[in-house]
Symmetry: C2
Amino acid sequence: MEEKKLPKVGEYHLVVDPFDVDFSGHLTLAMLGNHLLNCAGFHADARGFGITRLNEDECTWVLSRVALEFDDLPMEYQHFSVSTWVESVMRMFTARNFEIKDQLSKTIGHARTIWAMINLQTRKPVDLLNINEGHLVDWINDEKECPIEGPSRIKVTSKEPVETISIKFCDIDINGHLNSMRYIEHILNLFSLDFFRTHRILRFEIAYIQECLFGDRIAFFLDHDDTGTYQIEMRNAASNEVVCRSKIVTAER
Amino acid sequence: MEEKKLPKVGEYHLVVDPFDVDFSGHLTLAMLGNHLLNCAGFHADARGFGITRLNEDECTWVLSRVALEFDDLPMEYQHFSVSTWVESVMRMFTARNFEIKDQLSKTIGHARTIWAMINLQTRKPVDLLNINEGHLVDWINDEKECPIEGPSRIKVTSKEPVETISIKFCDIDINGHLNSMRYIEHILNLFSLDFFRTHRILRFEIAYIQECLFGDRIAFFLDHDDTGTYQIEMRNAASNEVVCRSKIVTAER
């Protein structure tokens, strides 16, 4: 019961390592994603529903969707903080939110994430209301607000791929799948350096639909409109199955 | 003069973040490289010859060569340490060595690196015996041994590229060049997941020869022999100039 003394919101203090920045000196989106997932892990572990505890029950968390909005990103050597909390728990999914603050404690971004849990043997979903003796719901925080919209429906109509890649060794994570953050990198790699010199990302969404394995050929389909919104679909080129969808809202700098 | 009180060898304590591991759960080579460069930065900054101080003089460090040997690599969530020191200083180059220890303080690897310094305006080499009022030599440590061979001469004879890639947005660092660690990833990406399931790397060498820019097409040439040694040359496909050479010594698991 000692766990209960922890606050519902966990806050973690981080610093931007010099090699984790892009051409502009700002933390990359993939590294920001890594930090958010790490903070989610710290928060869950400390409260009895982290990977370590769940693996004993042969379960694991699966990241399903992310929506991320930011006004700014920290630069190399700068300190920043990530707060995270559970917003809701349903049978199949739980919502976890994040707030990102800069070195002066000014809020610079938010994220909403949706997670499922699967059994490692059957790969089938597990009822979240039953795990950890039903105590996951005790951690729901309904005081802190997350003022961004949740993940939206992404629909791509383009039929001609703009790019096709093969999944390579350094893409693969400890589960033998395409690393969650590498999906983001491959999506951003559809754009040019000049695009990011002249545009900034206001909102980034990703929906993870299927795992990718070493050697898989992945085709990228891209729709965009004149409001600076890009919708991307990644398909397994062999099966034509959708593996991921993403939406990026940009503005000119 | 207070700086002089610091030991010549700097030791830094690190932990393997969960998303920095490969399929086997071990720290990736690129992330190990990042950690070594970060530790080099901490060591140099604290002793008055880091990037921050040098930028005031419009100079910066340029990594020229790396040779790395290891018996083991730490796994996710494990603690490890990196010690680093200056071995020698000449006019054009300085040698910096590293020792890597696991969570039980057992030595698991070593690295030798060679660095030059350039003027940011002219991009020409700077005399290392003159920087920081000649005090760089005061930091030479001749007590600690680095029991691995230095970078060797790498010669690739193959004329047919095994792979050609384009440099993409997420490859680019704050200087607008291919990130040093991404060279390593692109080289490892020449090999299959099955190769790394059945082989382990004993020694990895890389010689950085030329910068790569966004959009550059890079061709990879590969020689290998039956002792498990692979030699790789990266060439700019447009100019045919060599941008990087690497040697990887492997053994069957």
